[in-house]
Subunit: 409 residues, 2 copies
Amino acid sequence: MTGPVSPLALPLPEMPAITGAECASTAAGIRYKTREDMTVFRFAPGTTVAGVFTMNKCPGAPVDWCRAALKGGKARALVVNAGNSNVFTGRAGRETCERTAAETAALIGCKPREVFIASTGVIGERLPTDVLLAALPGAVAKLQADSWQSAARAIMTTDTFPKGATRTARIGDATVTICGIAKGSGMIAPDMATMLSFIATDAKIPAVALQKLLSKGNAKSFNCVTVDSDTSTSDTVLLFATGQAKHPRIPAEGGAILKDFARALDEVLHDLALMVARDGEGAQKLITIDVTGAVSAKSAHRVAMAIANSPLVKTAVAGEDANWGRIVMAVGKAGEPADRDKLSVAVGGVWMAREGGVIPDYDEAPVVAHMKGREVQITVDLGLGRGKARVWTCDLTHGYIDINGSYRS
Amino acid sequence: MTGPVSPLALPLPEMPAITGAECASTAAGIRYKTREDMTVFRFAPGTTVAGVFTMNKCPGAPVDWCRAALKGGKARALVVNAGNSNVFTGRAGRETCERTAAETAALIGCKPREVFIASTGVIGERLPTDVLLAALPGAVAKLQADSWQSAARAIMTTDTFPKGATRTARIGDATVTICGIAKGSGMIAPDMATMLSFIATDAKIPAVALQKLLSKGNAKSFNCVTVDSDTSTSDTVLLFATGQAKHPRIPAEGGAILKDFARALDEVLHDLALMVARDGEGAQKLITIDVTGAVSAKSAHRVAMAIANSPLVKTAVAGEDANWGRIVMAVGKAGEPADRDKLSVAVGGVWMAREGGVIPDYDEAPVVAHMKGREVQITVDLGLGRGKARVWTCDLTHGYIDINGSYRS
């Protein structure tokens, strides 16, 4: 929080109010003592909800809670705290979620199962439930519709800049709005971080259709970002649709009427996911990796992630070295179909290696210049099929070691 | 080569001659200009051979060559060079192997397919074949039986210390000897490194039995070591049995008569593998990870490797922080069966977390002291079954970034 801001940071955009979604942030003092660390959202009756969560087999208590609550498809509130992730806290952790939901439900006037919960921060320490609950009434009392900016800040942990995105979309003749915020310095970051994102829209979309849109958009955005290959125990993306906009009725399964909404949602997810990569711990460069010519899209994604997670590729980028040999190595270690002699590698759009060897007379000057920039493009064509994928990551620098090698204190 | 020696280095042991195995190292000048960079082994007629190689899908030309040559089960020579890995070099790379084998076969008096080849160093640059071939006759002229020590040095790249191990074993009433050398600063290291190991014995063991022993021993040693999760395109382990010792005849399939030999071979492989971890780039601490209570040995191995490859676990160890929350995270991301509420975690033999939560009154003092040492022990019990595994790695430090983030030059 007190270190330098990422050189890849983007400004927080203006975010309009979403009718039917109010929020407020407050300094509960759970861990941080000098900043807002808790955010409460209240949603209008009838709000539908969709969610995607970490694949980690040891998820935190809030993830368990949200997975169960999601079955109802309805949401009236969201409570988020930063500083303690309530992970690996046993029975105490489950009780924290139950009490938080019950207390919030009483204040808002809803069922506990309509309250969603997310926590981020240190693993394995009991979350001081009484401290959190004591701050709830004050937060609820100051709920208002245009508090996205302070919420984007209150959910931060090791983040160096707040992350938000907004779009409008057409549903029939009506215009609806989508706002989202995210936090994260990696798929996971140190014991003080994780990846969370909360998005709201005033559109009225049935829960089944909403989940379909979110799952599809998430696969192209947050699931295509990696900082260090470590998967948080708390990763959570929640999408709320307050239903306050007036537009034609959406069928339960969604369909063509949601085409423009899907486009706008994908853009919001994409923006937020890239901001997470831009805030990767110690990041000095944003790396975009395109893989084409794979036997399938899934195979392309796995190859791209193997490149994105390779410490040797990431340190080479940090050193501004277009070391395509390490890229070939990472392709080969992915375990996916690959033929060394059909492989091509480009950096900054310049093909450097093709058909099992270096291109002897490739122009090195533009590659060297490209590597010195803030954004690095790696392209690999496997020459086998039509599968393709794009993922994003950041370089691996001394900053990562500094942030993660220090004592907890 | 010129940086500081790893604080985890071990001294190179005395290594006795293996009857039927001679070697010589020479300064061929392939890349390094001021040191020996090429080693030739000559083996007695009748020598059998076994090998294991990288699983990388983009292997170097020498790996392709050895895989094909291994089908014959016989070896008369081995040529190793450091400084250029002959990887991703297309047709030129294949020709280098063919010419090296033909030239060596002519000098030694054997078939080209009885010549084994290994190269380590930069990827994607043509190996100057003429330079290598020009140095061959001089090396062959000075072959002698007790040159293991200089060979251990000549195969190094980013290694900070030479690696060797030796044992004797009983076969029937006879004593046989095993000597081995290895190089590597990681499963792979930067563009100047890889993992190679060459082992010879005077025992007379049929190729099929030899391969069985090597594959089994390798699974417990080199395949249990990781530095950075990156898999070299050149990893090669070759085991030669010259058959010069007098002992009872070994059946083709091996069997109980090889029990003590297997024990000794496993110890040599284990010693060499640990030396690779001890020389991991930037390593300040050797980490041993034991996983018990998994549903199978394979599952235990995967969980242990997920912990060993986690940048967040490795940076925590570098920071001398017994951050068991990150260990829980790494268990969960492995994708193997795991139940958060049955999991236990110990560091330095002190159980810190059990049954889904921290042990409130565990004694922190011995854990803090343990983390300050050179060797760190992490133990995870999954509480599900009887599968267990042990792997080794090193911490992730600024040294790794320094070594791998610099320009190639």
